[in-house]
């Protein structure tokens, strides 16, 4: 039981910290959300290239798989796994093997949402 509690704690802290980095990029760096998220995705890719992101996932679980950085990691991971197996061709084929869930889900649910919902100009 205590290990489950600890898992949640680590997920909370690591996920929270990645978000804080994003907040600093937006507030101090004055970057738009688009720029900020693009940077974080690239960071995730680079960290996987350095073999560091998988270690982070083992340590923090959802704290590392839920932030958008994991997107860069999955794409790079898929490409590297294929490149390791098949060399240069693998580089191209491996890219979308592992990440399809995030994009497909967003596309599908975005479509469904467009059918059901209407944008409302509500304030809090």
């Amino acid at each position: 039981m205590s290990t489950i509690g600890f898992t949640f704690l680590v997920a909370f802290v690591v996920g929270g910290l990645i978000c804080v980095i994003g907040q600093l990029l937006m507030d101090v760096g004055k970057l738009t959300p688009g720029h900020t998220l693009s940077i974080l995705v690239v960071v995730g890719a680079i960290l996987d290239g350095l073999n560091l992101y998988e270690a982070l996932i083992n340590f923090a679980g959802a704290g590392a798989t839920i932030p958008i950085t994991s997107f860069g990691n999955s794409l790079t991971h898929g490409a590297m796994a294929e490149a390791e197996k098949h060399g240069w061709i693998g580089l191209l084929t491996g890219m979308f093997e592992v990440t399809s869930s995030g994009i497909s889900a967003a596309i599908l649910f975005g479509f469904i949402a467009a059918l059901i919902f209407k944008p409302k100009g509500k304030v809090d």
Partner: protein
């Protein structure tokens, strides 16, 4: 820059139509119609914007017992690209139409041109004004309304409103346009689209000073100088600029801003209201009533506009702004 109207064209009537959220405005009793649907029962925000305009114009026609055939010119604009809502409303009204774009300063620039046409003798009755619709402007300039972006305290809320007035030959016991100043484009290098007040304040300052100088007036000659949508922070900045230029503290209280006051103290609206419909709704409805009730005798209405586009911002440009002023007297 400064025009003086010898014939003193009168503001004969007005029509103000707003969306459901604008019920929360402190000026709500001065709106002619508050719609229950932000799209005015149309299937798109832009089409709803067009109905805001045509409804406001129809209210003017009803109030003054006129038909659209009696109107010489319709002048107006909005914030959507190519001003499509105003174009489509003009189609409904079937009146000679001049579309204008001064961003949120269109409420005043349209009245200036209408006054010129009246002064020239080319127009007996002209309808002038501006409008905005919240969702269509957010789509145009910022993010989808359901997007979870974080707006800073300097951000303003675009109102859903259309404010139009009927301009005609001078008549007694009605507010009239005595003079106007067409603003220059002023750019002090502002780049934050979430801080429009800070971008537009220099333009308001420049136009007000030009008007006062040419008219040999001081701030004391006016009951109120009301800017369009500098917002709470932009108004503070403007007042600070005048304080630094030597205006005494008791005179600084003559400065008001439609956007800063629009939603009152409700912090959900951050720095206040903005949009072409903001100044249009407040000037056409509330302000004109203050004249008729005798509270004000001379007012300077200074509508402010930010002349950026989403593309100019993405191309790294700063935000050029302008402010147009009309001097309204009571006769």
């Amino acid at each position: 820059m400064v025009i003086v109207f010898q014939s003193k064209p009168s503001i004969l009537s007005s029509g103000v139509v707003v969306g459901p959220l604008e019920k929360r405005s402190v000026f709500q009793t001065y709106f002619d119609k508050i719609s229950t649907d932000e799209r005015l029962q149309k299937d798109s925000n832009e089409k709803g914007n067009a109905v805001l305009i045509s409804d406001a114009c129809q209210i003017i026609l009803n109030k003054s017992n006129l038909k659209n055939l009696d109107i010489d010119y319709l002048l107006g604009g909005d914030l959507v690209n190519q001003m499509t809502p105003t174009n489509f409303a003009a189609r409904e009204l079937a009146v000679s139409f001049i579309g204008l774009f001064s961003a949120c300063a269109t409420s005043v620039s349209s009245i200036v041109i209408a006054s010129l046409l009246t002064e020239l003798g080319a127009s007996d009755f002209s309808i002038a004004g501006a409008s905005s619709q919240h969702n269509s402007v957010e789509r145009q300039f910022r993010y989808p309304v359901d997007y979870g972006g974080q707006k800073p305290a300097t951000a303003q809320w675009t109102v859903t409103a259309a404010g139009f007035v009927l301009v005609g030959k001078h008549q007694p016991k009605l507010p009239y346009v005595e003079a106007a100043t067409i603003g220059k484009v002023i750019d002090y290098g502002a780049t934050d689209p979430f801080h429009m007040g800070g971008a537009m304040a220099p333009a308001a300052f420049d136009t007000i000073q030009a008007h006062l100088k040419k008219r040999s007036q001081t701030i004391k000659d006016y009951d109120v100088i009301m800017t369009g949508d500098l917002g709470k922070i932009g108004l503070k900045i403007l007042i600070a600029m005048f304080a630094q230029s030597g205006v005494k503290k008791e005179d600084l209280s003559r400065f008001r801003d439609a956007g800063a006051e629009f939603y009152g103290e409700d912090t959900a609206f951050l720095a206040g209201a903005s949009g072409a419909g903001c100044s249009a709704a407040v000037y056409s409805g509330y302000m004109m009533e203050q004249f008729k009730s005798g509270r004000y005798k001379r007012v300077l209405l200074v509508a402010t506009g930010a002349l950026l586009s989403p593309l100019s911002f993405q191309q790294g440009e700063s935000i050029p702004c302008t402010a147009h002023a009309i001097e309204i007297g009571m006769g």
